[in-house]
């Protein structure tokens, strides 16, 4: 397998935790990993730990405008990571940096899979004791057409099958009621199209309360609604976990650690940008070394499963 390109400069804990994660991934998984970033910053953080480095002199910061950043900083680490995939020097890219810039780099440098109208961010929503529910689009496209959403259903279905081994993933449409008369024109038109789309197991509408649960394996929505839902969910869980931790004595909390680990996005390897012509993993900005290990695992599995080719078949 070609190495997996890890953006050493992306994320709140970059480069230290990112390099540590990349090194652990190489050791634990036996997967080749190449760091992409500023050699001086990597050296200052303890060096590349024996990993190869693709040098990139610039960094697109978290607060940079994505499109502007990618256009101006041509030697940015995540631009170089995307080019490495495009040029056959890497099999996949991973970044915990600026999400918009990661998308833009992947889209502009790798291009889209043939037939895909718009790439979408597929985010696993943890459901302890079960496989996660795949939510897409989690924020790549604020505005969508019914045709985009049908493709999200097709791509999400392929991804859930490859990622979680689900034979025939149940695909649902996010709405404000189970009835097909509920929702916006976008939702109603998409509902009608999905009932007629071959190759997917469409189970109808679900509501926000079904995102954590067993109602569906894949939930499709536009990137505005998906992003609001995802951040609402993260905010609610973070609030409640914080409030509980502040209320209970430490010894009472110990039994909750496995649950907390299951709910932690770090455990799930990040979101995947589906529809670009290469495997691209978007990790949480707060990613730890453990998150990077899991991202490398997911990336290598998706490369091995030839996810990208399957996505092209799904929308063909």
């Amino acid at each position: 397998m070609l190495p997996i390109a890890v953006d050493a400069m992306g994320g709140d804990r970059a480069p230290g935790e990112i390099i540590a994660g990349a090194r652990q991934a190489a050791d634990e998984l036996g997967v080749p990993v190449v760091l992409v970033g500023r050699p001086d910053a990597i050296d200052a953080a303890g060096g590349p730990q024996g990993l190869d480095v693709i040098a990139a002199s610039e960094v697109i910061e978290m607060h940079d405008d994505p499109a502007h950043g990618v256009r101006r900083k041509k030697d940015a680490s995540l631009v170089r990571a995307a080019e490495a995939v495009r040029d056959g020097r890497a099999s996949a890219m991973i970044s915990a940096g600026n999400t918009g810039a990661t998308m833009a780099s992947a889209l502009l440098r790798m291009g889209r899979v043939k037939g895909v109208l718009r790439p979408a961010i597929a985010t696993p929503i943890p459901h302890p004791g079960h496989h996660p529910t795949v939510l897409l689009d989690a924020g790549a496209n604020a505005e969508c057409t019914p045709q985009y959403l049908v493709q999200f259903a097709q791509m999400g279905s392929v991804f859930a099958a490859r990622r979680y081994g689900i034979e025939r993933p149940r695909v649902a449409l996010l709405s404000i009621g189970e009835e097909d008369t509920k929702g916006t024109p976008l939702v109603k038109e998409t509902h009608a199209l999905l009932t007629k789309t071959p190759g997917i197991e469409f189970v109808g509408n679900v509501e926000g309360r079904d995102l954590i649960g067993d109602a569906a394996d894949v939930v499709v929505t536009d990137g505005f609604t998906g992003n609001v839902a995802l951040k609402t969910l993260e905010g609610a869980l973070k609030f409640l976990v914080g409030a509980i931790a502040a209320t209970l004595p430490a010894e009472s909390l110990a039994p909750l650690l496995p649950l907390a680990a299951d709910m932690d996005p770090d455990s799930h390897g990040g979101a995947v940008l589906l529809g670009v012509d290469g495997v691209c993993i978007i990790s949480h900005g707060s990613s730890t070394a453990r998150a990077i290990v899991n991202a490398v695992r997911v990336a290598s599995e998706m490369v091995a499963a030839d996810l990208v080719a399957d996505l092209g078949d799904a929308v063909a």
Copy 2:
């Protein structure tokens, strides 16, 4: 004060818990309450407990189509409750029944406040230790224009001021980033309008993670996004509370009871339909007697504060 009309037939625990709550409200708050519903059903549940009854022979069930239900069942309890407000026999209405039918009854029988384009559902999102954040629209209007959202900001601001005694409520717009360049055309146009709207304290965009928290007192969005966000939040909290309760021994859970009570929608008196020409409280379908007591309290406070007149002034 005119009595507050409580739909005895609405909610998962109707009529028993609803009647009990209405009775408790009258006793504890000294507020007159009138039950609306089928006399036989009220009698079968132990009678009206000394409260007056407005007889209504029909019930719009939870699964009934709202518009169709209101059109066909002219003697339905929630239609009669709305008529009682319209006709000056009640000062406010409360229902834990079919939300859509409650909105339709209030809108068709009471009408809109002069100048209001669309009524909106304002839902308090609990934030333990602080006053709740008011989210609107939580589901009345799946499709909105920027002008509707500006009015939601105006009405939400008045409601937060009256309900929580906030002198100058901070109003935010729900989006997928703080920058005013983020979001859908609806969000961007609304953002531009809100910066120029006098009489409100617009603090910019917030994200889903800010719904529980102190970033704003009022959060404005369209009814599709608002409903998805609200149900996502409810689902996330319900899941986590259930998972924790299943993991920890009962004695560890005791310190969490005050937090659970603060987070319980029953503690907050339900959502308010802002913009109809009368006070209309939409309680949770699972409302207990305690929820009804709190709904009566909120209704009586909003009547006393002359909320409806203030809403008219706000949008004038």
